[in-house]
């Protein structure tokens, strides 16, 4: 296949995240904290961090699974995160996600993948947030189902 083997979500693009690196199961995003990213206390809204941490695993997993993603999309089913420090306007943030290498990530018959992500401030590297994510990989669907508006994965609860 040609072109990059990943796609950033419209949502994280809309937020203003930049894809800096995508590798085998890893992904590095960055973001400059602007006024639109703030919460009611004028700190970085934790939703920005959860969105980007989620995205790093979604993208990294997409890189690993390549074309299979079109037929069997993956989706977050579980996420937990801890917030260790506040981000502020003007901060440069990096978010790095890693699909757990030994975990099953969409080989035939596999349906679950695991990942972990960390958000840091640049350049001092202070950790702002940590996260663990679980993704479900949709059951096999007919290739034609990948065309047009995707019904999306229907992970079993």
């Amino acid at each position: 296949m040609s072109g990059p083997s990943y796609a950033q979500a419209l949502f994280t693009e809309f937020i203003g995240a930049r894809v800096e690196r995508v590798d085998e199961g890893t992904c590095l995003l960055s973001l400059t904290v602007e006024p639109r990213h703030l919460d009611r206390r004028s700190g970085l809204h934790s939703g920005v961090l959860t969105s980007l941490m989620d995205a790093t695993i979604g993208i990294g997993l997409g890189y690993l699974r390549r074309d299979e993603v079109r037929h069997r999309p993956h989706a977050t089913i579980e996420m937990n995160a801890s917030f260790l420090a506040d981000g502020r306007q003007g901060d440069e943030i990096e978010v790095e996600g890693r699909v757990i290498p030994d975990g099953p990530y969409g080989r035939q018959g596999r349906s679950i993948a695991f990942g972990e992500a960390v958000a840091r401030r640049r350049p001092d590297g202070e950790v702002l947030a940590l996260s663990r994510l679980t993704f479900a990989i949709a059951a096999h669907r007919h290739p034609s189902a990948a065309q047009g508006p995707s019904p999306g994965p229907e992970p079993s609860p």
């Binding site: 934790s46 939703g47 980007l52 089913i77 579980e78 995160a81 801890s82 506040d86 508006p149």
Partner: protein, 143 residues
């Protein structure tokens, strides 16, 4: 004081609406647009974690009272969300927040996200917040 239970800049930016805010209950709404989706055309999980955080920060403020909140702001320390189903462009989403406990230094709350189409529970979240002490440094720094 007027803006203290208004929504955050980030939730305004992504298109979330504060629909109800009263003692112990907060409800937000969102109409899913293309900008909220992932490459598979479904709503990004980050939309829900953002709205849940906002709803629960707000509902804890509703119980603590705005004066206390500004003297000693609370901040998310932990969150845990299960995504049970999804939503697509055009769907109407509702996020409801309720308090489990507001203690002296920690508060617990939970949120549910529902999709109007089919009246489906699409996500459930539990959040923990830390409350800085009224005489603590964090409150002083905010001033």
């Amino acid at each position: 004081m007027q803006q203290q239970h208004a929504q955050s800049a980030f939730v305004t930016y992504i298109g979330g609406r504060l629909e109800e805010w009263r003692d112990g209950y907060v409800r937000l709404g969102l109409t899913v647009e293309e900008r909220h989706t992932n490459p598979h055309g479904v709503m990004h999980g980050g939309v829900l974690t953002t709205l849940m955080d906002e709803a629960l920060g707000g509902v804890i403020a509703s119980v603590r009272g705005l004066d206390d909140m500004w003297k000693a702001p609370h901040a998310t320390v932990d969150m845990n969300v299960s995504f049970l189903s999804n939503a697509r462009t055009g769907d109407e989403i509702t996020i409801e927040g309720a308090v489990l406990k507001v203690g002296r230094s920690v508060a617990f709350a939970e949120a549910e996200a529902r999709r109007k189409r089919g009246d489906v529970l699409i996500a459930k979240g539990r959040f923990t917040f830390v409350i800085t002490r009224v005489d603590g440094r964090a409150a002083a720094e905010e001033a």
